[in-house]
């Protein structure tokens, strides 16, 4: 009898000490708080990320983010190897947008050395980084909807388009995600006319996808009810906390590094910066949606105007690259926000200091501020709307 009982799972082992302790961490005047560790293996923490929540019912009273599970000391690696050898590692920071990471790093090194970039390379950089921005935003919205419980439909639509863009990347750079394409003073290989035509074709098909996406999501009542008024980030806090990217613009602060720094050749293109007024999750979702349309505008112009010529500075050296002593901070508007690289050179082949300013990490600063008083379900949404990639947060 006992044997059968054991087989069925009744009373088989001695219970550990304190097993029946109620899962309460503290008593407050209002009631008992429940501590929940969301992550590191939780379906919607976008990687190995952990939030220590204190819940009153389902209301969040406290939230402490914890990271470092993916830490590999990227910066130390960068200091131990040549400037060029860090380039493929930047692909792995924000592994969804390797090309913008490449550009940020190349830009910082070009500032350090004062190298010039040929016209055609600048155009290629713009084209590639706007494609990257498009696929990142589409993916982010897809993931956000996944967090909202959409069972993957918007995500799959986003990935369908992303597939086309990744095919373009592969055709040009040889790899779909880890492109390792930009070089100091240009780009690695030239784009063939066939590639440009293929890109034009893909870009021409993207507005239809956006229309479909908007029809599916924009006016959905459940989506509006879930996202409007949730996770509000006031603009002054956003600025003070160094929030950048769509998150900042959703709070209504007009700051787009493409417009401010005019790095590359962004001053030649006619595009606008969409701004939100409420700073909630819906605004962040819509800002990304609208930014995708603006990216398409830039792409149209860049693909029309791209000149001929070399794609890499003929004076650029692959072997024996040693910048003069000095330091430089270069930054670009990556899809996640301001991605900066800070380099100190001591004249050697390796950078003396190699620092990444990760937008994903710094945008998490306000996670607790946005989530307090919200529901558990909202925390997931707020995290999804911040758009983090753990490869970049933990480095």
């Amino acid at each position: 009898m006992t044997k059968i009982g054991t087989k069925l799972g009744f009373g088989r082992k001695k219970k550990p000490e304190g097993w029946n302790r109620p899962p309460v961490i503290e008593q407050t005047s209002e009631g008992e708080l429940l501590e929940v560790a969301m992550g590191p293996h939780h379906p919607s923490t976008h990687g190995v990320f952990r939030m220590n929540l204190a819940l009153d019912g389902e209301r969040v009273i406290r939230l402490k983010p914890e990271f470092g599970y993916l830490h590999r000391n990227h910066e130390k690696l960068g200091e131990g190897q040549s400037y060029l050898a860090s380039m493929p590692y930047t692909d792995r920071l924000d592994y969804l947008c390797s090309l913008t990471n490449n550009w940020a790093y190349a830009l910082a090194v070009e500032k350090l050395t004062g190298q010039q970039v040929p016209e055609r390379a600048e155009y290629l950089r713009v084209i590639l980084s706007e494609l990257t921005r498009f696929q990142n935003h589409a993916g982010t919205i897809g993931f956000l909807m996944q967090d909202m419980g959409c069972s993957g439909t918007p995500l799959m639509y986003a990935f369908r388009e992303r597939e086309k863009i990744l095919d373009l990347f592969e055709e040009l750079t040889g790899s779909r995600m880890m492109c390792n394409y930009m070089r100091f003073g240009g780009c690695r290989v030239d784009a063939t006319p066939a590639w440009l035509d293929a890109t034009r074709k893909v870009v021409a098909g993207l507005p239809a996808f956006l229309d479909e996406f908007e029809a599916l999501l924009r006016s959905n009542e459940i989506l509006m009810a879930r996202t409007q008024g949730v996770g509000i980030l006031p603009p002054d806090l956003a600025v003070n906390a160094g929030i950048t990217g769509p998150l900042l613009r959703a709070s209504g602060v007009n700051y787009d590094i493409r417009k401010v720094d005019h790095y590359g050749i962004y001053d030649r293109f006619n595009f606008k910066v969409p701004l939100g007024d409420h700073g909630d999750v819906y605004d962040r979702f819509m800002i990304r949606m609208l930014e995708m349309r603006e990216s398409l505008k830039i792409l149209d112009q860049a693909l029309k105007e791209i000149p001929g010529g070399p794609v890499v500075d003929p004076k650029a050296k692959i072997r024996g690259f040693r910048p003069k002593p000095g330091e430089a901070y270069g930054r670009i508007e990556s899809p996640k926000g301001e991605l900066g690289f800070y380099l100190i050179s001591d004249g050697g082949p390796n950078p003396y200091r190699y620092r990444v300013r990760p937008p994903s990490l710094i945008n998490l600063t306000v996670l607790e501020d946005m989530s307090l008083g919200q529901n558990v379900a909202d925390v997931v949404l707020i995290l999804g709307s911040v758009d983090i990639v753990m490869g970049e947060v933990d480095r």
Binding site: L8, G9, F10, G11, R12, K13, K15, P16, W19, N20, P23, L34, V36, H42, P43, S44, E58, M145, Q146, D147, M148, G149, C150, S151, G152, T153, M156, Y157, R160, L216, R218, S219, N220, E221, I222, L223, M224, A225, R226, Q228, G229, N254, K259, K272, V273, P274, L275, G276, D277, H278, Y282, D283, M286, I287, L290, N375, V376, A377, D378, V380
Partner: protein, 391 residues
């Protein structure tokens, strides 16, 4: 011949029972019915899972499962074998007896509802006079099982899921009942067979289904919403909302116990769709008078599968609601509308034949719907927005 085909299962059962002594015949008839139901619905479950995976896949521009067997039709069998061979893990600190019982209770409670559902002409296991009442009594006990599962697991996510589930299921039980009461008011009977036969009539070629009346249509919508919530299907799948609370009350279940929960969920979906079919879609009656030659059970099961398809379609499209919104929606929108619907049903009954009652009843419901819908949006401060651009 048509008649024979329609009654084929009834005749088969009678034929089988005929071999037994007279004293056992009634009991044997019931046993046969039970065995058929217990075998049929898991088979339908397999079909529905396949349909869901394929259909969702196609909605998401994927193929869906297509590797096991031709077009992937053996996928459910592979899934079943997988869940049978997986390790059954019981957390050390779980209340193992309750943990063990919960999936069984889910399945048993979900199956009980089929006892009173007429699945075809004369095809009802127990023709109870208070069939509807029995059905709801049984349906309500799945809540118990869900709470057992969530509580016994000693996992915080399970607990949160269970709390959500209980709150949600109890809240939506009310509009579910009230929308069915409208049907009872019109029919004047709680017996499900009587409700079907009341709808089994035709004007010209069109049937007298209750969904084709204003109160019936509104009632059907309310019923459908409550059903979706009651069976924890998207967009009301909060109790197991995988992006928030991992898997809700069945987080700590693995292997076959998890499969039982899965089965229970689908069987509940079948039975509640079957009830909806019976109440509003004419049960086993044909949609047009010239199609009555097709066996009644085919109609019942096609309506059932059609409603499953709608469930899948909803799941493929909609995001999930939040807990408080779900509750607000139940108590502030669905419940008042169901109450108004009761009133409308009463009016319908006493206004007599004529076009006036159509206009009058539809107008009341439409006004109530628009008013309350806007009220809902206004109280939650949501609506479409426009955006400004900076140069």
């Amino acid at each position: 011949m048509v008649e024979k085909l329609d009654q084929i299962f009834v005749l088969l059962s009678h034929w089988l029972v005929g071999f037994l002594p007279a004293g056992l015949q009634q009991a044997a008839g019931i046993v046969i019915g039970v065995v058929v139901i217990v075998c049929l619905y898991p088979a339908l479950f397999a079909l529905a899972v396949l349909m869901e995976r394929k259909g969702l896949g196609r909605m998401q521009n994927r193929y869906g499962p297509n590797r096991v067997g031709p077009y992937g039709i053996l996928q459910p069998i592979a899934d079943g074998i997988k869940s049978l061979t997986k390790e059954d893990i019981v957390p050390l600190s779980a209340d193992s007896a309750v943990h063990f019982l919960a999936p069984i209770v889910v399945v048993v409670a979900s199956f009980m509802g089929f006892a009173v559902l007429p699945m075809g002409r004369n095809m009802v296991l127990v023709d109870m006079d208070a069939g509807l009442l029995f059905y709801f009594a049984m349906g309500a006990s799945t809540e118990l099982a869900v709470f057992m599962a969530g509580w016994s697991s000693r996992n915080k996510y399970s607990l949160l899921g269970a709390m959500r589930a209980v709150a949600q299921m109890i809240s939506y039980e009310v509009p579910l009942l009230l929308s069915s009461v409208a049907v009872v008011m019109i029919t004047g009977s709680l017996s499900l067979t009587k409700i079907v036969s009341a709808q089994n009539a035709y004007t010209g070629i069109f049937p007298h289904w209750y969904i084709f009346t204003p109160w019936g249509f509104a009632g059907f919508l309310m019923y459908a919403i409550s059903t979706t919530a009651e069976t924890n299907r998207s967009p009301f799948d909060l109790p197991e909302g995988e992006s928030e609370i991992v898997a809700g009350y069945h987080t700590e279940y693995s292997g076959f116990k998890f499969a039982l929960f899965f089965l229970g969920e689908y069987v509940a979906m079948f039975s509640i769709s079957g009830l909806g079919t019976t109440l509003f879609l004419g049960g086993w009656s044909a949609p047009f008078s010239f199609l009555t030659w097709i066996p009644s059970w085919i109609w019942f099961f096609s309506k059932l599968m059609l409603s499953i398809c709608v469930f899948i379609w909803l799941r493929g499209t909609l995001p999930r609601l939040r807990q408080d919104q779900l509750m607000n929606f139940a108590w502030k929108f669905v419940l008042p509308l169901s109450l108004i619907n009761l009133l409308v049903a009463a009016l319908w009954r006493f206004l007599g034949e004529g076009w006036q009652r159509w206009v009058f009843c539809s107008a009341i419901l439409l006004i109530a719907y628009v008013f309350m819908g806007l009220q809902e949006a206004r109280s939650d401060h949501f609506g479409p927005r426009s955006y400004r651009y900076a140069e």
